[in-house]
């Protein structure tokens, strides 16, 4: 009940605002049939950060489900470059063998929908919209072979950084929806793009795009900042702090 209130209250405010703004934002030929918002525009990574979630909520003007509208939420994190290495057996030792490099792939990627997207769209539409981990563009450099791409998908999913429809979007009252996308503590900082799509009869009829900032704050932010931008100062402080902690320990816990 409390959770429902927490979700609904901003929603009501949002809808009120939206109604007021509607004439200005109106799309040609139709009134906006989709309105969505994020519970927060900022995920703060502090030294106590253990992961979080991206909560997307919104409403449609027609009923969701049945033969009506469906909602798809796609979140993409800042791009990154990764190397996938295959372990090979050399004289009984397992060492890193051939590797493939993937440039410009999303560090975080999450898809959620009210129905499995495979049922919602035909193969062509789904490919065009890149809805599905299997359709994600993964330009591969270095060793060839599909096994690297497969391993990349599997390992990223295991890390919880690529989430492919593990939970459907919840719908309440036929028109209100909310999606919770888990964010592990290993998440990269940067700008996250959240796309909310309204699908009808296998096509996207309305879409909204929001963004979210994941950033380090507090001590974690200062440490990462000093380590990156002032490495000499950071190195010297690390040495002095460690030595001081060692000295302090020998004074405090001196025995005998």
């Amino acid at each position: 009940m409390r959770r429902a209130l927490r979700v609904l209250l901003p929603l009501v405010l949002l809808l009120a605002g939206l109604l007021a703004a509607a004439p200005l934002k109106a799309q040609p030929g139709a009134t906006p049939s989709l309105a969505a918002e994020l519970s927060t525009r900022r995920i703060e990574v502090t030294t106590a950060f253990t992961g979080g979630e991206i909560l997307v909520f919104g409403a449609t003007d027609r009923l969701i489900g049945g033969d009506g509208d469906e909602i798809v939420v796609l979140v993409t994190g800042p791009p990154t470059s990764l190397v996938v290495r295959q372990k090979i057996d050399v004289l009984g030792f397992w060492i890193n063998g051939p590797s493939a490099r993937f440039n410009g792939i999303p560090s975080y990627w999450a898809l959620a929908a009210t129905q499995p997207v495979e049922l919602m769209f035909g193969p062509t539409e789904r490919t065009d919209l890149r809805l599905g981990l299997d359709l994600l563009q993964l330009p591969q450099i270095g060793s060839t072979g599909p096994q690297f791409r497969r391993a990349l998908r599997e390992l990223k999913q295991r890390q919880g950084l690529w989430v492919d429809q593990t939970r459907p979007i919840d719908v309440s009252g036929g028109r209100l929806f909310h999606a919770r996308l888990p964010v592990p503590s290993t998440v990269a900082t940067g700008v996250y793009r959240v796309q909310i799509m309204l699908a009808r009869e296998g096509r996207v009829v309305a879409r909204q795009e929001l963004s979210l900032q994941v950033e380090r704050v507090g001590t974690a932010a200062s440490i990462a900042y000093v380590a990156r931008d002032l490495p000499v100062l950071y190195a010297l402080s690390a040495i002095l702090l460690a030595a001081f902690a060692g000295w302090l320990g020998s004074v405090l816990f001196r025995r005998g």
Binding site: Q86, K87, F93, F102, A151, A224, Y234, A242, G246, G249
Partner: protein, 302 residues
Amino acid sequence: MQVYLPIAEMSVDALLLLGIGFGVGWLSGLFGVGGGFLLTPLLILIGIPAPVAVGSGANQTLGASVSGLMAQWRRGNVDVRMGVVLLIGGFVGSAAGVQLFAWLRRAGQVDLAVAIFYVVVLGTVGALMVRESLGAILRRRKARPARLHEHLWIHGLPLKMRFRKSRLYISVIPPLAIGFAIGVLSAVMGVGGGFMLVPAMIYLLGMPTSVVIGTSLFQVVFVTANVTFLQAVQVGSVDIVLTLLLLAGGVIGAQFGAQMGTKLRGEETRALLGALVLSVAGALLWDLLRVPAQLFVIGPAP
């Protein structure tokens, strides 16, 4: 209690890190080694990326050794002159080692190189230590008078120098070379190198056991400081939050260990340390030989 490590970019249980720190610190005090050779593999085992484990391991070894060094210093067990000679070699060696590490990282073979270094170095040192100390224990039983130290070919080299506290008059070349080798290993393995330095000082230089631990800690403190500096500046892999958590447990453990160490005889200490070193080498070797659970690994692009 989870804590977020800003450089490793992940969250880890703080109590687990404190516990690891305590255990390693206890051994550090007991054997007069920094304990880095246990710490780095343990950190990798709990999922810390290898470069961060190596960089922070060196930094933690520095702090842990400071408290050990102070305990030894109070007892007058540090040969400063020998320490400085070792250190000169150590600085050059650790600078070279960090270059090697950065190159291995670019080549994508850090994990393998670190594992192989561990297996080879720990296996050799552990086996030698166990063999020698068991021999010494048996000799003691037979009560045969032992010489102060063996005279080897290395004692015939030029540039001789007197090390009063160690009761030695030897060439500076062997300590310089030993210091250099330990420096390289320190940078690549994230260790202080005490577990190698101690036997090298006893068997190669012929130093008396009483000053070996204090002098090795002296060298370890400054070499790990150098490694910390170079790793932080060049690789950017020193996580101060990780280091401090490990140290918080470590400094307490080290005091217990040092107290216990005074009650053990030299040979027994060496035999125990040798067995410990061998078992770590064995575990890492097994890890290299067994079929990995994951045939693929992902890592950041260099």
